[in-house]
């Protein structure tokens, strides 16, 4: 009995160390423990109706998501990481996915200039000036992207930049499956 009790501390400690090792292994394998999976996956996109960035174009609202697989990309001209991501968005469009840009908390003038300089891969660009729609999507910061199926259900979220690897290995195959 006494012996069992004496073993207890070292046993508890061993379990604790096991957890730490496992966690470090996960980090080493590229798992970023800091990324929080979205609770929005599998749920309908929240209601929104946003005005266009460029005058004369239509609004884009949640109901417009029906019938077409769409990638919604939140971006901003002031965001460094968006620049790095921007060049790869063309691949998304080439794969036949509708690409909607939501300009997050930005000055429309800056956003227009930015798109003119960097190129505009989007089918439509709308603005979320006060960031409310972004919160409804559960956004942490820009850039973030949501892949939405034909029924308007969120199927995939990328927190941070879309890399070519993510586009090729996750976004495009999933979109293909969803368009069937």
């Amino acid at each position: 009995m006494k012996k069992v009790f004496a073993m207890l501390p070292v046993a508890v400690f061993a379990v604790l160390v096991g957890f730490f090792i496992y966690r470090l292994v996960l980090i080493d394998h590229g798992d970023t423990p800091n990324l929080i999976p979205s609770v929005m996956i599998g749920r309908s996109a929240p209601a929104f109706d946003l005005p266009p960035l460029f005058d004369g174009q239509p609004h884009f609202a949640a109901k417009d998501l029906q019938g077409k697989v769409t990638l919604i990309n939140f971006f901003a001209s002031w965001c460094e990481a968006c620049r790095a991501e921007h060049g790869f968005l063309g691949e998304v469009k080439q794969a036949g996915i509708r690409l909607i840009g939501i300009d997050y908390k930005d000055d429309p003038k800056d956003a227009k200039a930015w798109l003119a300089r960097m190129g505009d891969p989007y089918d439509e660009v709308v603005t979320d000036a006060d960031g409310r729609t972004a919160i409804n999507f559960g956004l942490y910061g820009v850039p973030e992207s949501y892949l939405i199926d034909k029924k308007g259900v969120i199927r995939f979220k990328q927190t941070g930049e879309l890399t070519p690897d993510v586009i090729r290995s996750q976004v495009v195959p999933l979109a293909r499956e969803l368009s069937r």
Partner: protein, 294 residues
């Protein structure tokens, strides 16, 4: 030389200090029980004081003393069994000599060999005050003056110098502006284009935008051997998501990099890290120079 002599003196002093107890020999001190008794006597005295102050009744004090007496007797029992049981007495002369030899030779030898691997004995200290003649420092304080001079009297060499100063002061936007002027004035100068690209990249937290990429491409067109240019062209590929291409360019650079080049470690680190990120082994990628055309 002075450095090594100082190290030797330090090591010698340490060895002497370590050897002192070995050769002083075993001066007998009190046995364990004497140490125990010192504490128990002290505890008995405390009980006396507490009792005297009225903190305990005489009976309580007597009981407390009895407890300590028992511990004293138990300590003596323990001492007797221990003395009877332990037959070994010390380590003997030979062991002592071996120990002394190890301390005298092993400790300094170990320290010197580890230092040889980690230290930089050839680098002198560089206190700031003693660097008054350091051209960088002089230039840094005179950057504004130089900029004003160049305004009136532009020259490629002057802008290069100004760009370098700003760059080292982490003022990358200003550095890029100066290098841009340099490329304009110098004509086809690969180093100037490469410096411009680097400054632009640094101004964007290391992200190579089309402008910077263009500068590197220009530099590469003019000089195909420059390590910096090739490194950043690889980085640009990586940032555009083509990790295999990036590693191919770096492996090509690696071939031309002497083992002791200051950036060799960083280059190898990049190759390893990006290969891992891309999920391929670096040696499966054939070295390939950057595209000249771009």
């Amino acid at each position: 030389m002075i450095l090594w002599l100082t190290f030797a003196a330090l090591a010698a002093a340490v060895v002497v200090l370590l050897l002192y107890p070995v050769f002083r020999g075993g001066k007998d001190a009190a046995g364990r029980i004497a140490y125990d008794m010192t504490v128990y006597r002290d505890q008995l005295a405390e009980i006396g004081k507490d009792a005297e102050r009225g903190m305990m009744t005489p009976e309580q004090a007597e009981a407390a003393r009895a407890e300590i007496y028992r511990r004293m007797l138990a300590a003596e029992d323990a001492e007797n069994t221990r003395t009877a049981a332990s037959s070994r007495r010390g380590m003997g002369r030979v062991a002592r000599i071996v120990l002394a030899a190890f301390l005298a030779v092993g400790v300094p030898a170990g320290a010197f060999s580890v230092y040889a691997a980690l230290g930089s004995p050839s680098l002198p200290a560089r206190p700031y005050a003693a660097r008054a003649d350091d051209p960088d420092i002089i230039a840094n304080t005179k950057a504004e003056k130089l900029a004003a001079q160049l305004e009136a009297n532009p020259s490629a060499a002057g802008y290069k110098k100004l760009g370098d100063i700003y760059f080292l002061a982490n003022r990358y936007d200003e550095a890029a502006a100066a290098y841009r002027k340099e490329t304009g004035l110098a004509g086809n100068d690969a180093a100037a284009w490469s410096a411009l690209g680097e400054a632009m990249a640094m101004a964007n937290d290391g992200i190579i935008l089309p402008g910077a990429r263009h500068a590197f491409a220009e530099a590469y067109r003019l000089n195909r051997t420059d390590a910096r240019t090739r490194f950043y062209l690889g980085l640009a590929e990586a940032q555009h998501g083509d990790l295999r291409r990036a590693v191919a360019i770096w492996r090509d650079l690696q071939k031309d990099t002497p083992k002791d080049a200051p950036w060799a470690a960083m280059l190898n680190g990049h190759i390893a890290a990006f290969s891992k990120q891309g999920g391929f082994a670096p040696d499966t990628i054939a070295p390939q120079p950057p595209d000249a055309g771009k």
